[in-house]
Every structure is written in structure tokens, then in C-alpha cells.
Subunit: 139 residues, 3 copies
Amino acid sequence: MIHQQTFTVATRGRGTIEITPEVERIVAEFGARVGLCNVFIRHTSASLIVCENADPSVRQDLERFAARLAPDGDPMFRHTLEGPDDMPAHVRSILTQTAITIPVAGGALALGTWQGVFVWEHRTHPHRRSVVVTVMGEA
Amino acid sequence: MIHQQTFTVATRGRGTIEITPEVERIVAEFGARVGLCNVFIRHTSASLIVCENADPSVRQDLERFAARLAPDGDPMFRHTLEGPDDMPAHVRSILTQTAITIPVAGGALALGTWQGVFVWEHRTHPHRRSVVVTVMGEA
Amino acid sequence: MIHQQTFTVATRGRGTIEITPEVERIVAEFGARVGLCNVFIRHTSASLIVCENADPSVRQDLERFAARLAPDGDPMFRHTLEGPDDMPAHVRSILTQTAITIPVAGGALALGTWQGVFVWEHRTHPHRRSVVVTVMGEA
């Protein structure tokens, strides 16, 4: 049993957007009780993370950390065609996830109490990001 | 054919603990000859890595590298509710893996000669960490 | 339906090599229309990334970024048995991917327009790297 569905996330520029509810809905619609759920983002300047979803200050601190690690406009970067945030966005994507595969148990994502799935937009301007969810499992 | 099992790792504070034997045992019990084995940690301040498992100095160096990259008590971090190691633990988790999917071949994990699967505890105090192993495959 | 195939990549020392065509060929041969494709590298000093595949300057900038983040010969590292690039290679592997699971849709990898799958060799000397591709899906 396989189920696949694609949805779009409209980002407001750099920052994280939780997509746990959308992914949970696709898993619930499919109806498998046990299996695997793969989440994949079809971009190289936005990525996925599983992160603490209770206190927003965690994601704000992650943003500050990433900005210090790969600063916009760093003179080391030559790939600057789309602006000072172009190459830092690729670096942030490489250091986080393009794909995350999460177990399904009891018909739902087997996430821990404090885990959420987030799209992390790394570009400063808003974008539309395509996310593919593939669930494989049995009833 | 799907098999899923959860086990707990008691960590002794910051550091790595190899779980390859536990994961191998679950794969062997299941009996699939070819397929995929997903390992998932249900936490946001401990993570998974596939790492060199011969020389412990590799993981000691990783620890030093992570401590330099995201130092405990860094004044940049505002999410310090659980102490100076709280936010560094989230950063280290984001930069490593919450989920790793490993091929199964010949009824065992198709790891390279020097590869082991490790839980990396990022908090300074001991914790109990829940790991879900899901195997999908055929005989 | 499961299909598994291993191939070898001969690297020319540090740098990225695109393997999207090899992975696509294995997916196409298998003939599944929808499912998941897992790519796994059986090493701890070379890794996988999904990266922008249009402009080579992106990967050159990634190389510079990684060299600054984990410099060869860093006196912090004690695991130097195989040379000054030994431990930096492990660090780069830990911060990127050993395994990536990509959705299959319409009988092909559901990659975005600018996404390619790359082996990233982190050692300065050439190596032979083993990559396992496992496809699970239905017709």
C-alpha cells in the first residue's frame, strides 16, 4: 500500500513553517496503521527539519545560529547571482534535510512529544515550496 | 512485510552510544532478506549519526568540533530555559540526523566496513532516549 | 516490489560527482511508477547531498565553506592517523548525508527542477566509493 500527495507551502521569506498537521492529515487519509512516511522538499534553498515545536524561541535561535554560520553577503561566496542570500540558502539546505522519513505507528506519525516537522525557508523573499509526502504501510 | 520495534537508550550525558547491535538484532528477527531499515529518534536534543566505529577518537573529535561550533552558554541563544546546553543540543540535532534509512541486504544492514549507527546525546545530563526501528522488506 | 543495486563511484579526490543519471537508470529499470528510492553511501569520509545542479559555482562555494568550517590540519583534531584531511572528512560526512530517500513518481525520481544527487568526496586523494540504491514501489 502506497499513497503519495504533493502540497505547496507559501513562505513569507526566511523562517520556519510547521507542516506537521498537513503531513498527519495525509497519513490519516491513507489509513495505514504501521509503515513509513517520507517527506521531501523539491528545492535547494529551502529545507526540512524536525525540531522542538513548543517554544518559538528555539527556531529564532536556529535562525541566528545559521546567520552567523553562513552570513549573507560573505565575500567567500562567488555564486551570488540571485543576491547575498543565494549561497547561504544552499549552505543551510545542505546542512539540514531535503528528505526525512518518519515511522508511522497506530495510524499516525510516531513523533516524540516535542517534535514537529518544519519547512525552513532560507531565502529572504517569499517563495512557493513544493513538498511531496509518500506513505508506505499496511492496515 | 513490515516490522516495527521501539527500544530505549539510557545515556550518560553528552556523548555517543553505538546502537548497531540492537538495530541488527531487530532486522535479523524480522527475517527480510532485502529492504529498508528506518531508525528514528523521538527527541530534539539527541540525534543519530552513521560514523566510523573503529577508533573512539573520531567521536571525541566530533564532540570537540560540536562544542566549538555551538558552545554551551553562547550569549546569542535566548532559549536557555533548561540551561546553557539546551539550545546547543537543538542546534547539534538539527545539523545531524533525527532519521536514517539504511538498506537491508542478505538479511542484514548493508553498512560499510567502518560504519556504525550511534545515538548522540547532546544534553550534559543523562537521559532516556526512545528509538523506533521500522523494517520493510521481502524474504 | 523491491529492487536493489550497488554501484561504485571513482572519485578524483575532494569534490562532488553527480550520480543522478545512475540512480534514475536503476529506478527506470525497476519499472515502479510510485514509491521510494533510498540512496546510501557505505563510507564515513564521503557523503551524499541533494544540491543545485545547474551552476558548478554552488559546489565550489560549498567546498570553500566546508574547508573553513572544518579546516584540514586543525590542531583541535587528534584523529589524524590518515593525514590532515582524515578528521575533517568525518566532520563533513556527519554534517551532510549518508542516506537520502527520494520519492518516485511517474516512474522517475520526483526531484525538483534544480535538484541533483551528488557524492561528495571529502578525502584529498581519489577513492572508490560504494553506493547502494534500493527502490520500493508499485506499478
